[in-house]
Amino acid sequence: MTKLIKIAVRNLARYRRRTLLTASLIAIGVIAVVVFGAAAGAFKGLMVGQITDSMLGHLQIHQRGYVASIDNLPLTRTLLPSEVAAIEQDLRGDPDVEAYSRRLKFGGMFSNYIETTAIRLNGVYPDEEFRTVPLLASRIGAGGGSLERGQIVVPDLLANGMKVTVGDTVVVIATNRDGSVNAAQLVVSGIVEGVTGPGGRDGYVHIEDALSLLRMDTVEISEIAIRLRSVDRLHTATNRIRTGLEEAQAAGNIASFEVHTWEGLSPFYNVVVLMDVLVISATAGLVAIVLISVMNVMLMSVYERVKEIGTIAAMGTMPRTILSMFVIEGAALGALGILIGNLVAIGAILVIDAIGPTFSFGRQTGLVLSPDIDAGRMLVVSAIVAVVAILGTVQPAFKASRMDPVEALRHA
């Protein structure tokens, strides 16, 4: 085997320019896939992080049908205290759950005593909310993010439009479930920066104030947002939580529920899917490049060495050894492309990290793209290239191994 590799390498060196050109072509494909995959992965991770850590959480639990009518923020589809207790019991025992936040979402009117406008609010327990969506604190630019009873955090667009600042007293008016109207005077404790996605432009009040405003005697909850320890465990954890809740429902502890991951709640998921499709498309392009270039080079190699093949066949070299010679040569060509491609890709990723290009997402600016050197991705891409390079060699190698020595020796 060592000798076959040595012969393969020497044959590649024999046609140095052609080998370098083909290896470069493969390397460009590898670079494109690795760098684009890393950049797309970094962008995706950043965006998913922004969405889940700013507002959404990784998954949410509602009463069945709530998400379908979420634009109306219905107060008739809340989880009752006993149901919330059953869900909490399940979540507290789940090893994947890092934190959860109970929210009572409602719509109302917001007045600065001069003007009035509509507002969407989340009644939350501040500690739970800040632990579940840790970027919320950083979104609250002015006011430091405290949310005590009697306080309100106002979305920035609304604050700007209504010329409201931290410390101002405002009035929130809301209609409760029965249709009666109630109002509460609150002090602005912070201005929250809007984010793209559902709930990204909502304000916040303490849940006790929300209950009081809506004249609810018990703690009813519109949604429970959940933060996982690792987003990679999203589907496993979601399935387990759903199963646990189904059991609670079967035991009569929950009337109805629905569990949604962030993917089902945010339209950005379609962008994520599109990015994945683009990465797969780039990989398919790489496969085509490798297959065509390696097959082309190896076919040329076989045609140029017909007499040589005839000679070694005449000497008694078995067809499988001849086949191996060419397959190893193709694999070595692929390996050269993989090596160059991965080294340049690592360099390119380090350069991108050093430059730290920034971009905007919705109203968020200055997000820094910092792709990681993902050894797993590089291994997968390398394995694909290696397999395709070998596949590209099989036909020419088989042709060489089946060559009639008499015909081959006659070749000019």
């Binding site: 024999r14 000679t311 000497m315």
Partner: protein, 232 residues
Amino acid sequence: MSLIVANSLTKTYRKGSVAVDAVKDATFIIERASFVTFVGPSGSGKSTLLNLIGALDHPTSGSLLVAGTDIGTLDRRAAAVFRGRTIGFIFQEFNLIPVLTAYENVEYPLLLVQHAAAAERRQRALALLDAVGIGDQRDRYPDELSGGQKQRIAVARALVTSPQLVLADEPTANLDHANAALVMRTMRQMRDTLGTTFVFSTHDPRVVAEAEVVFRLEDGRLVDRQTSGAAA
């Protein structure tokens, strides 16, 4: 027992609807350790006969026994094994592998055909290179060597597996007079030392002069057999 026994050996090629007898009804015997050549004009069937003896091709009819093996019965794989064990080849254009050094070219059949151990490969390859007088050139690549040197390496490569038979197709055609004489002398020495049978095809009177037995071919037919002395 004779090394090669051919009886009514015929090889017919079809070119479209036309059948061409490249070798026709050839009957001959070649003894072990002999120095034999087939001569004749171009297209007389010399190379076809060598291909048949070398198990590179199958006879259309007749029988051909080489070292006790009926060539006609060998399939592709068995023919390759037979060649690797029994026959060494020398070609008109040397046919050395350009990416291998002189030593590696000689070592090749031991390594990739006979799968011999490293120590044995080294010992035999170096001995053969020395025997053909080219030991000091062993690390050179073929394109760094003269025609005569290349052909002597080819002789060493053909002999390194200790074959019973070496087939040489026009071995001196691409050599000048001095190198041709040197190569022929080398092969004769090898025959004398190792007892290997050498069979040539040639136009070259210098080769014919060296031969102990000369078979003359015309239009695929064996028309004459001469022994040493009369051959020249």
